[in-house]
Symmetry: C2
Subunit: 458 residues, 2 copies
Amino acid sequence: MARSSAQPPESAPVAVVGAGYAGLSAALALHDRGVPALVLEGADRVGGRVHSGRTEHGVVIDHGGQWVGPTQHRLLAWAERFGCETFPTWETGRAVELWHDGAVREFTGSGPDDGPGVAEYHDAVARIDALAAGIDLDAPASCPRAAEWDAETVHSFFRRTVACSEARRRLDLAVQGVWSAEPREISVLHLLFYVASAGGFDQLMDTAGAAQDSRFAAGAQAPALAAAERLGDAVLLGTRVDAVEQRGDGVVVRTSRGPVRAERVVVATPPPATAGIRFEPALPTARQRWVQRSAMGDVAKVHVVYPRPFWRDAGLSGIASLYGADATGVVFDNSPRGAEFGVLAAFVYGDRLRAWSAMSARDRRAEVLGTLARLFGEQARNPLEYLEKIWPTDEWVRGGYAANPAPGSWIAHGAEGWRAPCGRVHWAGSETASAWHGYIDGAISSGERAAREVLAAL
Amino acid sequence: MARSSAQPPESAPVAVVGAGYAGLSAALALHDRGVPALVLEGADRVGGRVHSGRTEHGVVIDHGGQWVGPTQHRLLAWAERFGCETFPTWETGRAVELWHDGAVREFTGSGPDDGPGVAEYHDAVARIDALAAGIDLDAPASCPRAAEWDAETVHSFFRRTVACSEARRRLDLAVQGVWSAEPREISVLHLLFYVASAGGFDQLMDTAGAAQDSRFAAGAQAPALAAAERLGDAVLLGTRVDAVEQRGDGVVVRTSRGPVRAERVVVATPPPATAGIRFEPALPTARQRWVQRSAMGDVAKVHVVYPRPFWRDAGLSGIASLYGADATGVVFDNSPRGAEFGVLAAFVYGDRLRAWSAMSARDRRAEVLGTLARLFGEQARNPLEYLEKIWPTDEWVRGGYAANPAPGSWIAHGAEGWRAPCGRVHWAGSETASAWHGYIDGAISSGERAAREVLAAL
């Protein structure tokens, strides 16, 4: 089992920085090939942006990443390997949208069939998918129009190409929901790459058959915990990495519990956390710039626990989209598999998160419960439990879901700075993945790719 | 005199991180008020992005910042205080522009009177100045159109508002020259703020009467060296700061030479360097995001030394602008005051820097000398000396001239994250300045502002 107060050994063939899914995946792939890898994790738990827990009433919830979809083959393989059961995300009933002018509309399926801007939204999505089809997932900056796409923010792109302001409202919320960023913060190229990486815009947006298809009965951290269990005392918790010093004959990793010598190092932290590690010699400029210009998205996830999923009585699915002044952008029914309790999960993103997180704890709660009451009735005001996870304040992750490169970063620094090894240092993390970039699945495949690099070099 | 191998004292009333102009200014302002401040500098010299030297032939050159202009009151005050002489930048004669199609045009004064796109360029500059007039220098994100301006890249803005592609070429080079960044990397709001901060677009661009008005006879580092001399052994070189830990009763600054306890700390590094310091408790999210989303510009400065300024014989000023495939974007006559030698300084920016710095040293030299030969004749191919300073690879500064916030950063994080003190930690650096932001003058005023904050708090 992962150790949290042990001194690290003096040396290991491979050191892995970070025990999120990417780091665990790299270590497990090496372990499966008989190469011991020591995993160094600053936090007191594994899983990174995936963190499951039980509420006071014993309800399993996921404070972070939670879903798995049918084309997420690597995560599904882990679920299978470690015997982690999944179940379909609840979407039976009518979803609700609360429009900016106060109008409330209900619909079934993955989105409204009509309503302001719906047709134009679908047209825009079709155009985005068509453009995304031209992206090379292993070299996003290499396609002919990459320079043009990386020079424009998604905000400007929508203003320029989508005449209907109501459709733009829908697109803006989609961007907030998928990238946990405002459309001004990412480039068109990054949007297109991300869409291509998932297999299409609706793969990112939809529930059944797409990214939000299913959940883990024991929480999405379960496969990570099982992998850590398999790795045993090769996982060191509470061990912060301060520096990575490459020498001619190896690497010295300086940790808060002492140095570790290794042949190779896999750094599997989100890019902004990499900026806090001192590298000797300094990383190549392209890698430095890539890291510097990648910032975590801004998201908070609020769980509200009720005695039962009362909204289902009224034929509501618990899914909602909010286009107005509410802090909440999107709501899902996150009740446990057997629905012994009713759980709603409210997501707060970007600008709305900044305003909401500046409120007092009491006001934040009142704000979210008020929104849920308008959506689902007055019962929503009296939950059994209310839990918040504001990811930007997480000591180790400092945001979510993923880091987004600033406009211009792909074209200027992507070719060399994205994930190319720097000497004996290899890079993992969902931000280095080609398929399902930014998702748990991408984290796992990135660790496996880094492990292959290390095996080829050892 | 600054010490480079001493153990720091156990404590000081104020610790200043970084001995660039901002850090020296903060320490000097405190020193002048009788408050001792200890300056901790990782490099083995003071001056930061300002670094003067002598070539083998004894010619004074500035590898980094070098100019002073008439409205840069704080830098002029330091020049006066420390008796550092200045002299006008050489601009007698005809400047040259090498157009993208190979055409060569000559002109006198600060820019061409005619030529492709000249009139439209001036129209665009007038519009920029008019928009910049609405910026509040102490709160750039507060103006009514800030959200709109911060959501669009300068690249998109020029495409949308400047129909003439030839004018856009001129604007693009202006942006590269002033921000050492590509137009896609900065937002319209940051451009407007910077213009307002300098007092107008032409203040940024012009020589006589503007930002490039004069140079320092002994190099632009001379005032910094004099300030450090005044501070004596309160300046510790070769002392890297790894962590800043705030406690209830003070701050512990962890350095590569041991800890220092202080009442207050002024962090006066460029924002990206701040990301390498571990803060306990973690900085507020807005400050973290601001730092994460600010990246240094990309610039190299090449000095080529000749026996004499031979271009002056042909009536050329040595000033050139290049719009084609050359690595060099802009050339200045950087000869010493008495012109005992002739010196040309070639600036390489952004994308062109990335391509050029990937070449071998031999090819880089041949490329620049070939450009100078086309501009000033074959004599340019045979210099006495050739010196490069590629700022992105500088161990401590890692870019230049300044850090530019990514699009969307001002509006999302600027209000709280720009320069508001975080407990006992205060912020200095040219990137925190209102007037002459990004310039030496702004660095000095930022240090003085931080010193005022500290004095008010002690």
